[in-house]
Symmetry: C2
């Protein structure tokens, strides 16, 4: 046994009022509101403001926030030029981590970054930067999609809400309201999830009073890993590898015997099915109904896999997590698999920024300690004597 | 009192054998070797290999590592084009965080990234990526310096060691051996420092199995903050603000009364003068002697400030840290102040990568918990009823 909790499991790293998880009951709540209710009744703009400010907004506050987001739906042409200088076969998450880190260089004068913790936590500074980042993230992802396809970029449409505009810019056509609503629900479900690795990376980076673009860039880097947000892309690869519902059982037995990862299954915090997977599963069912049964074979394979895993994995408390069904929905929305994690990043920017704001409002730089297992002090030996 | 340790102070987040600090005695050791000895006898290549592999290398291993580093001292012209697309008045740390994050896009085929933790910790993969990153970091910083000055970039010189080549590429002229040796000592002193915020950001990001370029980019973001690496640039601004040794006392009294930060003073880990500051102070003394007394007024002001602070700050255990004297040395080496933190990042890449390697060799994703202080579950209220 080591004298530290590996991965800091169970160790409180902060006080927070942003979201809470009941892993036994399978409840995730943002500021006290269960996410199934938010996915059904709220939209991303409202949920983002709830996460950032702590309360469901008044009609007036919501409308002002929405207007501010729409006003910031614009990027300098120089940022697009930077994206042109990146290899188009590169992964969207690398593009996103890179370009977000550059934004302070392109927008240096828009608001000056304070250097004392007190000034830095100024609500005006935090609110301004938060709106700019949440508004710009989908533009980067959507422009990149169009650029790498060699097509013209689709300009933002001021008349559309956050989800519908994002889908339009991504796919090149305005979605029917049903599909825009699905996208909106996906964004809500991915907006926040307590202190996971990417949020924690944002907090650690933010605690040095680094610029918020640098903070979000670091979080994007953490999210890109296959053990974190990178998993949703891999679920679709996995379903492709399985091939058909009839092959699920044999495939699963082989994977379990080899102790290999089943992507989209299991979560440290939940002893039951991830509440986000429950909602996403329900959304796919609605989509199947909406489409008169016509959805991709991915759903049949995934459903069969969830059933087959009940005997083995569920018995050990391993159930589908948020990544298990989200990719299938994104696929139905016409989004390529390597963009799934970038969509996750766009949605999660609200949660990251809420934690950034909470961190700097009562800041102490993160500097944990270590259990030192190395050599005691020893004498240097010159090269010729080694 | 909160139920968590703010900033995780005193909480062990990992086991590590890379470096150790004795805060009472003022000792920092890399793998058991005290840094004052390493600064006097080692060079950056040897120190980096010591950090990465755990032992002082044999002549043969060192020569192979050195040759590998020199062979990787090259960047595709497309990376330089990307740098051209960045605003030249932007901060070097933003450039560095951005461009490092992009490198996997430019070098996708050079080595494929494994997705299981076991394969990812493969020593060959780790060694290859480590060499590539350590070799390329100074190129990015030096190219940027030349580009933003509007001059031609200086190509790497295979005949020069790491420190001398870096200085040459940065300043445009080959340094005299005495100055190259100063630079080398600075790189050694900044190479590693246990689990500080940027190293921790690298560990958290790396624990998701994110690409190592993404890991180092995240660490650069954390280092850029003024409460972390960003402080060395601010020390020089502060010395400028003071203006002359005669004004130190009055300036200090005012700052202390206003409870403002004195840049370059104090460190959570040390109860005495930071051992790196001790070595740096000694190096400046040598430089003064070498130059027959001709160094900038910064040194006189800094020395006076350290003396003046003895009565007030030192009594509370607040002494000069690594940032207090490093900027003065860099200034004497002809490096502009806004590059100081980028130099820190170049040096620290060895430590970050050593911790990344240690993390993925026994990985568990970082997911600490929180003390939830927010609302209990509550009912959603429709917008019209708010």
């Amino acid at each position: 046994m080591s004298a530290h909790a590996r991965g800091l499991a169970g160790v409180p790293a902060t006080q927070s009022s942003i979201s809470s998880i009941d892993g036994e009951k399978g409840i995730l709540a943002y500021r006290g509101y269960s996410i199934d209710v938010l996915a059904a009744h709220s939209h991303y703009e409202e949920t983002a403001l709830l996460l950032l400010e702590g309360e469901l907004p008044s009609a007036r506050a919501l409308s002002a926030f929405d207007a501010a987001l729409r006003a910031q739906r614009v990027l300098k042409p120089e940022v697009i030029s930077l994206m042109h200088a990146l290899p188009q076969n590169g992964h969207p998450m690398h593009m996103l981590q890179c370009v977000v880190a550059s934004l302070d260089m392109f927008y240096p004068g828009e608001i000056s970054q304070p250097t004392s913790a007190r000034a830095y936590a100024d609500p005006d500074y935090v609110r301004t930067m938060t709106i700019k980042i949440i508004a710009r993230m989908p533009l980067l992802v959507a422009y990149w999609e169009r650029l790498r396809r060699g097509g013209a970029v689709i300009e933002p449409r001021a008349g559309l809400g956050y989800a519908a505009n994002f889908l339009t810019m991504l796919t090149g056509k305005e979605p029917e309201p049903f599909m825009a609503r699905l996208m909106d629900a996906c964004l809500i479900l991915h907006a926040e999830h307590t202190i996971n690795a990417s949020t924690f990376a944002a907090m650690v980076t933010g605690s040095t009073l680094a610029n918020p673009y640098g903070v979000i860039s670091a979080a994007i880097g953490a999210l890109s890993g296959p053990l974190h947000g990178g998993a949703n892309q891999r679920v679709l690869d996995m379903l492709d590898e399985i091939g058909s519902p009839g092959k699920v059982k044999g495939w699963l037995d082989k994977k379990l015997a080899a102790r290999e990862i089943i992507w989209g299954m299991g979560h440290r915090e939940y002893k039951v099915k991830d509440p986000r997977a429950v909602v996403l599963h329900g959304l796919i069912e609605k989509l199947v109904e909406h489409r008169g049964g016509k959805v991709s074979r991915y759903y049949d394979i995934a459903r069969t896999l969830e059933e087959a895993a009940k005997e083995t994995l569920a018995a050990k408390g391993v159930y589908p997590n948020v990544d298990f069904y989200s990719g299938i929905l994104y696929h139905e929305l016409g989004i390529p698999a390597d963009q799934f994690t970038a969509l996750f990043a766009v949605a999660r920017s609200a949660g990251w920024l809420a934690h950034w704001s909470e961190q700097i409002a009562d800041n102490r730089i993160f500097r944990p300690t270590q259990v030192y297992t190395g050599e005691a002090l020893r004498e240097y030996v010159p090269l010729k004597d080694r």
